[in-house]
């Protein structure tokens, strides 16, 4: 660590580090032949290859084992909630894409749902189906990313590059309906921004078919690997009670044996029409957390296939949605199951064109909090793996 960084360190540290400095002074005054051991403080991030964004953690290490962690977040804080208070309802839509950028479709959907609920707008059927198709495809590819990214953290670079191919194909599809490849801004208050062009549904079917047939290979590449299994099984175990206590949601919670999926617990949109299962497991270790994602991915593909079969013709925007939505005064809460957990929007309206308050309940925020409280007494290498299985997205944590 360079001098510059060492000088910066105490800024955010609690008193415990000051105590440590005293310790160091004390060590210096001892006679030279005394051998003393001392924990090593290591600074991870904000720019580190495996922090999935800009996460900083100050860790004390006893050999290779972590004895203390001090997380520092907020490097990506843009205060979207304040921005929302200064924009009209529709103008805030693009910002939602910049929160969980790996499953942006689901973010915009959740926000649109909240505003629609507030303003009493009925979304046409076809738009709902398009949202489901786009959202579930986005969830599938996001889960696949988490899975291949854990390989990257374990040192296997190749699966991640394979994922890029699938993602690129999907982004081509998204580009056709949304016009963008990364921040889609697809959901609109009252519908979606674009209808599916000719032949798009067939291309989606082809995409699902190839992804399905490739999944076997993905599975073998990491889950079938002895070393990977050794790195994942029995590591970072978290019980159901503990998971609830720490406020985890999403696949990580289901891996611990709590059957909570917003799509089933509080069915929104048109989910009751689809036949799908919520995979659940009970061990709660790294492997299960990742395996849940792998199974959910397949369920997502199943939902998309059903949606493709059922999709009706019709308009994609609700009739009579004003350009400047002015919902009546009131409060509303809408939540969806995002790829990382329960994502909710709590909006307070005072009747003006701008929201009075927008609160974003980000699943990664809760998951990251849980992660930081369970890493102690693990190997450093395992901490990186556990971090990968929780997969917080820092656009969302810092908002």
């Amino acid at each position: 660590m360079s001098k510059l960084e060492e000088q910066k360190l105490p800024d955010k540290l609690p008193d415990s580090l000051l105590e440590r400095e005293f310790e160091i002074e004390e060590l210096k005054s001892r006679p030279e032949d005394t051998i003393v051991s001392q924990e090593l403080t290591i600074n991870i991030g904000p720019h580190h290859p495996s922090t999935h964004g800009v996460f900083r953690a100050i860790m004390d290490m006893d050999g290779e084992i972590i004895t203390r962690i001090e997380p520092v977040i907020g490097h990506l804080h843009r205060c979207f909630e304040k921005i929302a208070e200064n924009r009209s309802y529709a103008q805030f839509m693009p910002f939602t894409d910049r929160m969980d950028y790996t499953s942006a479709m689901l973010n915009g959907w959740a926000y649109a749902m909240a505003v629609e609920k507030l303003a009493g707008i009925q979304v046409p059927e076809r738009a709902e189906y398009l949202r489901v198709i786009a959202g579930e495809l986005n969830r599938a590819i996001s889960h696949l990313m988490t899975y291949t990214f854990s390989g990257l953290e374990a040192g296997a670079v190749t699966p991640f590059f394979w994922w890029f191919e699938e993602r690129d194909k999907l982004l081509d599809l998204f580009e056709e309906i949304a016009g963008a490849r990364m921040t889609f801004n697809y959901a609109r208050i009252g519908g979606v921004s674009g209808d599916a062009p000719d032949g798009w549904f067939d291309r989606v079917r082809d995409f699902i078919k190839t992804l399905r047939s490739n999944l076997d290979e993905y599975y073998k590449l990491l889950f079938g690997n002895y070393i990977f299994k050794k790195r994942m099984k029995g590591i970072g175990v978290i019980s159901a009670e503990e998971a609830i206590r720490l406020g985890i949601t999403g696949p990580c919670l289901r891996a611990s044996g709590v059957n909570y999926d917003v799509r089933k617990a509080d069915p929104y949109s048109i989910y009751p029409r689809f036949d799908f299962e919520v995979p659940i497991s009970y061990k709660g270790d790294n492997y299960d957390r990742m395996y849940m994602r792998f199974l959910e991915l397949q369920q997502s593909l199943r939902i998309v296939e059903q949606a493709l079969d059922q999709i009706p013709d019709g308009p994609i925007m609700a009739e009579g949605v004003p350009r400047l939505v002015c919902p009546p005064p009131g409060e509303v809460y809408a939540h969806v199951e995002s790829s990382r957990g329960a994502l909710g929007y709590y909006i307070v309206s005072d009747g003006s064109p701008k929201p009075y308050r927008v609160k974003i309940q980000a699943p990664s925020f809760g998951n990251l909090q849980a992660f930081t409280s369970m890493v102690v007494n693990n190997y450093f290498a395992d901490v990186i793996m556990i971090f990968g299985t929780f997969d917080p997205c820092f656009g969302e944590v810092d908002r």
């Binding site: 660590m1 360079s2 001098k3 090593l40 403080t41 290591i42 600074n43 580190h48 290859p49 495996s50 290490m61 290779e64 390989g151 990257l152 953290e153 374990a154 040192g155 296997a156 670079v157 190749t158 590059f161 394979w162 890029f164 191919e165 590449l221 990491l222 690997n225 070393i227 990977f228 050794k230 790195r231 190997y379 450093f380 290498a381 395992d382 990186i384």
Partner: protein, 335 residues
Amino acid sequence: MLSSAELLNFANSHGIPLWAMDAFIAALIALGLFAAMGLGFMVQVYMERKVSAGLQLRYGPIYVGPKGSLQLVADALKFITKEDVFPSSAEPWIFRLAPVVMFAAAFLGLLVLPFGPGLVAKDLNVGLIYVLAIPSIGVAGVIMAGFGSKNRYAILGSLRAAAQMISYEVPRSLSLIGIIMIAGTMRLSSIVDGQGIWYIFLQPLGFLVFFVATMAELNRTPFDLAESESEYVNGYHTEYSGMRFGFFFFAEYMSLFAAALLTAVLFLGGWHGPGPVILAPVWLLIKVFGVIYVLMWVRWTFPRFRIDQVMDLGWKVLLPMALVNILVTGIIMSV
């Protein structure tokens, strides 16, 4: 080729002292080896890029030179022209010496390795011991790099590397005892000559232990804990950039080549192959690059172990296997 008598005559008649002649010849050999290694380095880096790209559904380098084959030249230019970043808190001499030590250790290891019949810088009678011992000095370079750069990632990475390299030195050396017993010599060229049947078939267990331990020695992926980029950023060479990093890079590929060459010489029949003697170095190089390809394939496919699992594998699995190999070889030979 000049014979030594002719050389001696030449020296005497022109009044050149013998030591100068020796030094000249030594420098020539070193230069030759260096040039060969430089070429080998280029080929290996290009190969690594293309192999990894192939496995990862990419193209790899395509722009510089035909099919991107001159990419390394561009990289070398970048290395040379890059600013020499020297961390203000680093220990000046240790930091500067570390790449040199690494490079020298890897280079010295090549001295006894035969590239073909008679094509060897110095055919020592204890070549096998030498080739195991000298490259291990590289550990000192790793520790110096970690210690000198005063970076916590670097020091943790270098300690990992040291622990791992020293641990795997033991099964790696022991796995070759079987070959020494069969061949009855430690001269590498004699070992090659003795391989009517390749030793990989006579010593399958020994080969397995040797190959895994070699991977660990080379710090390549199932065992790349020293550099583990997802944990310690870049391990012991985190603080190095420009040409200093280039030296580490070069040393790494030189030891990769040396390890592959040793594997080919010891287990894969060396330069033996059909055709005239002139083809011997070609056969050897084919085998060497075959081994390098396998090493790359493994590197880009597998995830890495955790440090305690690496230690477990070395001491609890490979070491007993190597000992069993010695025992079995001894029993079979005495029967």
